[in-house]
């Protein structure tokens, strides 16, 4: 474990020294600034238009749920970008650049090396998505006094979701070059999102085949199931027409996928990492 921590520390130092985290912090601050502007404007507008008029749906809940849905989507997207860029060249890319060989010849197992990279990327990405999401919640609360039904489930779902992406990216890095791996991971991510959107369409049109396909795909790429589960927990207490709208949501359908998703996502990540370790072990450098 000490070796894995040494590798993780090295990777973290690299992220800090190469100013990856600084750039991410600046861009995230820009996103949160825009989010704050949008949230305050949206709730102000609600107050103005709602005054004295008949409101058929709970507009405050609709605005809050939709805004936090957007925050969840962006947090996941940024977290995935960060996860991919921290790991996409971990094996083949680093080997082609000559960075990996001096480390691999040390008495550190190749699996340990991968675990170290997983720990480093997870230690950056998981807290990152949680912080972005929680800051968005605070902004939404300040702007419109809207509190989501759950904080823990969406935050934990985002955190575990990006860890699954880190694992896929590490697996990809054992067989694909840096650019090819980056493209492949974003394709996988897009597939997950598309599955979520298909599920929404299936639910809106009441097409069982679409919802079933969406459900299967979201379990195959569990970051999507975790995301849908988080969205559902976020807006679970919103009822009526507003509840229906936010559950369908513009950023992928909310769905209560069940508690089994948590052990499944952990086991899935471990299996993907084991596969990566197997591929790495048999790779000539």
């Amino acid at each position: 474990m000490s070796d894995a921590l040494a590798i993780a520390g090295h990777a973290l130092r690299e992220a800090v020294r190469r100013r990856v985290l600084l750039v991410v912090a600046i861009l995230t601050a820009a996103f949160l600034g825009l989010y704050a502007l949008a949230a305050f404007e949206a709730f102000d507008s609600l107050e103005r238009t709602s005054a004295g008029g008949f409101v058929p749906i709970d507009e405050r809940a609709l605005a809050g749920g939709t805004l936090l849905g957007l925050a969840m989507f962006v947090a996941l997207f940024l977290g995935v970008v960060l996860a991919v860029f921290l790991t996409l060249g971990a094996v083949r890319g680093d080997a082609e650049r000559g960075l990996l060989q001096p480390l691999v010849v040390r008495p550190v197992g190749r699996t340990t090396l991968l675990i170290g990279r997983l720990l480093a990327a997870s230690a950056v990405c998981a807290p990152y998505v949680v912080i972005v999401f929680l800051v968005a919640v605070l902004i939404t609360q300040a702007a419109g006094d809207f509190t989501p039904a759950s904080l823990v489930v969406p935050a934990a779902g985002l955190a575990l979701g990006v860890v699954t992406v880190v694992a896929i990216s590490l697996l990809g890095s054992t067989v694909l070059g840096t650019t090819a791996n980056g493209i492949a991971i974003f394709m996988v991510f897009a597939t997950g999102l598309a599955a979520g959107l298909l599920g929404q369409i299936g639910e809106a049109l009441d097409v069982d085949g679409l919802t079933t396909a969406s459900s299967i795909i979201s379990w195959i790429v569990p970051f999507e199931a975790l995301y849908q589960n988080g969205l559902h927990a976020l807006t679970a207490d919103i009822g009526g027409a507003a509840g229906v709208i936010v559950q369908l949501g513009p950023f992928g359908g909310a769905s209560n996928v069940g508690a089994a998703i948590w052990p499944w996502a952990v086991a899935w990540s471990a299996a993907v990492l084991a596969l990566a370790a197997l591929a790495f072990r048999h790779r000539d450098l």
Binding site: L99, V105, R106, P107
Partner: protein, 280 residues
């Protein structure tokens, strides 16, 4: 005594290409062995198998008795790759500290200081890799290979980016390693380097060892040259043992002898004879 590195019938195939074909090799403790051969001969593959980066398809290799590539073997091996890079953001000290930790060396700052001094980077510990010249990075690479006092050091083209001063430093360092009982396998295109420091030389071509021996045994005798009052006489078949007789004969014949030189071939001649002669 267990060899620092031993290989028996070592083979490596990449698809239909044979990179190594039944190579036998032994590097004793305190022995400096040079690997020579044209590009693509299989030298780097041999070194990579020895340090566990590449798995052989046949035969076996061991480091200090442990299977090459095993944790125990890697713990007693230092390696400098032909194409290596350290992260540009890291300082020289940090690179060495990371490798100390991974090699489980408890040498601490004293070892880092000593290694940097041995490669002529005493004052550069705080310098970032990205600001170093290629030669400095290569020196740092050699220092990294020596972290944890390995019993076997594998150096793949360690002087390719060095100036003559740097090469001298590395030569002295290699001699020092030999004196400490470290086995060294040196892969280099610089024949003069190999000739100057190596105890034994292996010439590889087409994945096979085509010749091996001590540099002085590989270089063919080139006769004797005698400078006399009548000019320089060349005796191509004469050997070192013949010199006293030749001088006696010349002096008895009335010639004045100003100098005698025993001519020997170079390692380059031996290399070309082994490789080009074989190809041609």
């Amino acid at each position: 005594m267990t060899a620092a590195l031993s290989a028996r019938g070592l083979s490596k195939r990449y698809g239909k290409t044979t990179a190594l074909d039944a190579v036998d090799l032994e590097v004793a403790a305190g022995e400096l062995v040079g690997l020579l051969g044209p590009n693509g001969a299989g030298k780097s593959t041999l070194v990579k198998i020895a340090c566990g980066l590449v798995r052989p398809t046949g035969g076996e290799a061991s480091v200090g008795g442990a299977t090459a590539g095993s944790r125990a073997a890697r713990a007693s091996t230092g390696y400098l790759a032909e194409l290596f890079r350290f992260p540009g953001w890291a300082r020289a000290e940090e690179v060495l500290a990371l490798h100390q930790r991974l090699a489980r060396s408890d040498g601490g700052a004293a070892e880092r200081e000593e290694l940097l001094a041995r490669v002529g980077l005493s004052d550069e510990g705080g310098r970032r890799v990205e600001t170093m010249s290629k030669g400095m990075q290569q020196r740092l690479g050699i220092a990294q290979a020596l972290v944890g006092s390995p019993r076997l050091v594998l150096l793949d083209e360690p002087t390719s980016a060095l100036d003559p001063g740097g090469r001298r430093t590395v030569r002295d360092l290699l001699v020092g390693l030999r004196d400490q009982g470290v086995g060294v396998l040196l892969n280099s295109h610089l024949l003069s380097e190999i000739e100057l420091v190596c105890d034994r030389v292996l010439i590889i071509d087409g994945g096979r060892v085509v010749t091996e021996g001590r540099p002085e045994d590989l270089t063919a005798p080139g006769g004797v040259e005698v400078e006399t009052s009548d000019g320089v006489r060349r005796l191509p078949d004469a050997r070192r043992e013949d010199v006293p007789g030749i001088v006696r004969e010349l002096v008895a014949g009335g010639a004045e002898v100003y100098g005698v030189r025993v001519v020997s071939g170079t390692l380059e001649d031996a290399y070309l004879a082994a490789v080009v002669g074989r190809d041609g």
